[in-house]
Symmetry: C2
Subunit: 664 residues, 2 copies
């Protein structure tokens, strides 16, 4: 990779791909100055920029691996670019600059994917994506009533680009990936014909490029760059993780679920810390230790579950409520982020305030890892937990490392993952204890063993329902997150929107073909159907856990492959059919490893599924055994219990796949 | 007015008011280049700008009455400013520029008013106002269901700044006004503490300044600048204009309304052109001549009405439907704007297409004025009409004068007004025939004798109900529009939102204290209460027309004053109490001339009204005769029929005002 001087500027290419093309007529770099307007309300941000200056850096002077850019000849240089391996380092030569816009060469028919975990659009071409970790929104579609009501009642409706896990990285169909190394607010704008515009509210440290002959090479390289997860713990293959938050009743309900033939690997009780009553309903008590009132003798119960081969999982997040016993300990030690007056910054989470443990303070991070996750959770017997939040770092607090909270905001999910991973490692449980996160950012891959797709609405909606978790798995998978899963049945039930049996069943049968099956009772358990409340739903669920368990040897091979190559378990079709452009925009099917293709039914009332079978090989329909040649659109029957799943006729796992057909 | 050279730039002051303060550190001028994204759907626009360059013009060279601006010393000059009387002319010296941003010195506690006819916020400080003529929106408040549903069903919800009549002119509490002479899309941004930012999508011809010791002086100057309306026609003082669109039934209904004691000056039948049935409901037939089927013997009827002292009014707009007889005539003559292929550009108005008469073609404008308005309307016997639309000029059509439709869009309402005024003048009926428009822009004042506040929702809502027409009257009044009125009872009834008797009565009693009382049946007459369908409503209405007629001598004096001084009939309190800052933000009361203060009840269910009485004189409550000293907040009883109206105790019109109390 080197700069090529042209008549009036320069180009930068990777192999035969021109990435940058700069001239005074068509400059690729713009620098300037802006004042942002940012408001946060419970993890939802209202962000607007006032761009005061945006100057084209028309004049370039190339000198070997370095380029100096200025507005015009004779003007003071404002930016330096220096090549360093596969990266282009950026140095501001003018300290008034706080905005950078960069144009990357694009082709008209190019496709781009990534941006972290995107829930609405897998192919990002044609749209603009702000990259800022936040609540993803409820409804996420300004034309729906739920979005409207969420916006009005809590500024919480969201839009297509809102995500818990943004990352300024994309993969292009031109067979290269680009990563911006920055935690500043940034925007990928893929709306233009001959360039992509990248906007960054800082001068980023560097921009990295990854090229390869095949998409799989590039994804492997990204996985190495951002960190590779350990293989899935062995215990997960034993069945589903059952989410119940019903206090001691949870154990009896688990028994009933197992009695129906359900294969269970774990019991997940987020209410293990106890409850708090608010006008919104019951909330968890945000002080991270077992609550003896809600779960008497929990240690004993955990041991009894272990005897039956079932793990116990809990819940934690990076806040401590003011009325819990841990708060004064942390406050006394100075572990909290502070406000403008130097006092503990308190964040309102809805009728209760919390302190934000300041993970930029190594002592605070260590304390949280050792005392809370290490002692209160791992030593207590937990085998996993939801490591919730990470997206809410307020932008107006003061942090121990002295960095502006606006610059730490995006970095927070990764710091939070690191605290969790460190605790797990301290007990020698890496690859054994399983925590899962919705929040993410660059580098989360190295620490978080499992992504969870966040809080979908309990419906089939296009932008907040079942189908969105496929998009989340595919996009995050390309960024080096091998393992993705979601709340079976969705989470958010508001404004009378409640789960149907059909929704739970469709979600269940998709989850059987993902790395982890896990249920959630949702935000309003009593208003919503649960898997143990309907005989047909429970029977269907039980059968799907058997399929999951039967398929475990295949999943285990994918997990080994992920550790070896960085390829995710759930893959976009184009990853293995890269010359077939028809696959580039598909986001409602996925390859489950190279040999299986899964097309979940994601619309209500449908009993057939149409999909495109890629390649020139033969595909076998999982349930009927019917053969279909690849390279065509097909429609298959897909009644409840038979999601459209196919496997390659030439797969070495074919005997295993055929066996699934026999599970009644 | 002259440029004052400073150490590092210059200033421009009017009297003791510094208006511009430019230095290389804090430049007042920014120039650049943008690409707009504009979509129109039935008069509703989606507008976004992609600002590619925004460069501070830091370097200024002052030479007498001229300043040359460049990005930096030694760089090519990009903009020239030249003083010319009370104006600063602008000349682009760089033809790549298509955006200009200008910062005007502001004071923290400054207030600003104007922007054309603003319906939501009278004091514009703290907000940003795009200035682009369009539909104003239904609901105009993103937190309401009606706005949401309008947005989803027709992109029609609108927002606080949407208006039929924008104008890039403001009046400042620093006692100056600023006007930008341009028809390009522009934005007034009043959100900053020490400057106002003006954005223009072109280099404007000039920026004009108007200063005076008193607000009244400045408003008079603006009125002279933009054109002064003739006095109200004498016939208007005879009572209300009754809007009915019920074909021949309209005459019988008018009789019933008159029999209830209603004073009537005119009958307004917008359906005089006939109807078209669409799935939306009955629409007018957009071909501008009397329809003999819907109104047989209309000429005769008009004569009979005239015998009773009642005028007849109709409706016209600048389009011609493809299936009417006028369309082929206009098309053959080449009077229509054309599309990219040179064919007549057709605009879809909902199941019917129309041609746009191209008023930049003098022959087309003359034809419309002479043949349509002159012959078909005035000669036919019409005494007035709603001159509807003017905001919809599509931005992608080709016009006869060769100017980009994006630059003609804002200018269109004024051209439309001019066609109407020319027709009226050709028949010697200026000041006698009364047409009313909702659309407007700079210069509409010279042609349009009466503003109508557009299509309010039939409710008491804050951003689209009764109260908004006060804001519309006050803002447009400052721009030199002396006469404002509105549809009694509002217009838009959608999504089950219908008129209440209370709404009609409150609107009626406000209208009695405006230049013109006029009813409208609304967009869905059958679903909504009409003044002749409820005895109490009709009795209240009749009484209010008596009050209007009794007050006519006072209104006539205000009309004479308007012709003499340019002061509007409805005035913000600060116009006569300019040293009382408390009055600067009041937008739900108005002075009706200098001697009367009107505070309509604009919320449902209220029977009292609180308001601020300005000044140190005494005010008399119209209905009770109770005296109140000025300079205080008061609350008075305001049952139906007794809106909170006060008059100055020292008014020369006091006997007339006292007489109103006796009208039962």
């Amino acid at each position: 990779m080197h700069f090529e001087t042209t008549k009036d500027g320069f180009t930068l290419a990777i192999g035969n791909r021109t990435i940058l093309s700069h001239s005074s007529e068509n400059p690729a770099f713009f620098a300037g100055f802006g004042k942002e307007r940012m408001d946060m309300y419970r993890g939802n941000f209202n962000i607007e920029d006032y761009v005061i200056e945006r100057n084209a850096l028309r004049h370039a002077e190339v000198s070997g691996d370095s380029v100096t850019l200025a507005s015009a000849p004779g003007q003071a240089p404002r930016l330096r670019l220096t090549l360093d391996g596969n990266a282009m380092r950026l140095t501001a030569l003018d300290d008034t600059i706080n905005r950078l816009w960069l144009r990357v060469v694009a082709e008209t028919d190019e496709h781009v994917w990534g941006g972290g975990e995107q829930m609405s659009y897998f192919d990002m071409r044609g749209r603009r994506f702000p990259l800022w970790t936040s609540e993803p929104g409820v409804g996420r579609d300004k034309t729906t009533e739920i979005t409207f009501k969420s916006d009005v009642s809590g500024k919480a409706g969201g839009d297509y680009y809102n995500t818990n896990y943004p990352q300024p990285t994309y993969l292009s169909s031109r067979r290269y990936a680009l990563h911006v190394e920055t935690s500043a607010y940034s925007v990928f704008d893929f709306r233009n014909g001959d360039f992509h515009e990248i906007e960054i509210w800082a001068i980023p440290e560097k921009i990295e490029f990854f090229a390869g002959d095949h998409f799989t090479d590039i994804v492997s390289a990204l996985s190495l760059r951002f960190g590779r997860q350990p293989q899935l713990p062995e215990w997960v293959y034993n069945g589903a993780i059952i989410g119940l938050k019903d206090g001691v009743n949870s154990f009896a309900r688990l028994e009933k679920i197992r009695a129906a033939g359900t294969k269970v690997s774990g019991l997940w009780c987020e209410d293990w810390v106890g409850l708090r009553q608010t006008s919104f309903g019951a909330r968890l008590f945000w002080d991270w230790q077992a609550n003896d009132t809600r779960y008497p003798h929990l240690r004993q119960k955990i041991a009894e579950l272990a005897d039956q081969g079932i793990r116990f999982l809990g819940y934690v997040n990076p806040y401590l409520c003011v009325d819990g016993p841990l708060f004064p300990v942390a406050e006394k030690a100075g572990y909290f982020a502070t406000d403008a007056e130097g006092k503990t910054a308190l964040v309102d989470f809805g009728e209760f305030d919390c302190g934000v443990v300041d993970f930029t303070n190594p002592a605070a991070a260590d304390w949280f890892a050792e005392e809370i996750i290490g002692r209160n959770m791992l030593d207590f017997g937990l085998s996993g937990w939801m490591a919730d939040f990470g997206e809410y770092l307020p932008i107006d607090i003061t942090l121990s490392n002295g960095v502006d909270a606006k610059l730490m905001h995006n970095a927070w999910p990764t710091l939070w993952a690191e605290v969790n991973a460190k605790a797990v490692e301290s007990r020698g449980k890496t690859g054994e204890a399983l925590f899962f996160m919705r929040a993410g950012f660059t580098g989360v891959q190295a620490h978080c063993p499992l992504i969870w797709g966040g809080d979908q609405s309990v419906d089939f909606s296009r932008h907040d329902g079942l189908v969105t978790v496929i998009c989340g798995a595919l996009s995050s998978g390309l960024m080096g997150n091998a393992y993705h899963h979601s709340d079976i049945g969705g989470y958010t039930s508001l404004f009378g929107n409640v789960r149907t049996a059909e929704l739970i069943m469709r979600w269940t049968e998709m989850a059987a073909f993902t790395p982890v099956m896990r249920t959630h009772e949702g935000n309003r358990p009593r208003d919503n159907l649960q898997i143990d409340q309907d005989e047909a739903v429970l029977a269907h669920f039980a059968r799907m856990t058997s399929i999951y368990v039967a398929l475990a040897p295949y999943l285990k091979s994918l997990s080994a492959e992920a550790a070896r190559t960085g390829l995710p378990v759930q893959r976009p079709l184009f990853l293995h059919y890269e010359n077939d452009w028809q696959t580039y925009t598909i986001q409602d099917c996925y390859l489950y490893g190279a040999d299986m293709l899964v097309a979940p039914v994601w619309k209500a009332g449908e009993t057939q599924r149409s999909l495109y079978l890629p390649g020139d090989g033969e595909w076998v329909h999982l349930w009927s055994g019917a053969h279909y040649p690849g390279g065509q659109d097909v429609t298959v029957e897909a009644p409840l219990g038979e999601p459209a799943v196919f496997y390659r006729a030439d797969s070495s796992h074919r005997p295993l796949f055929e066996q699934l057909r026999t599970i009644g």
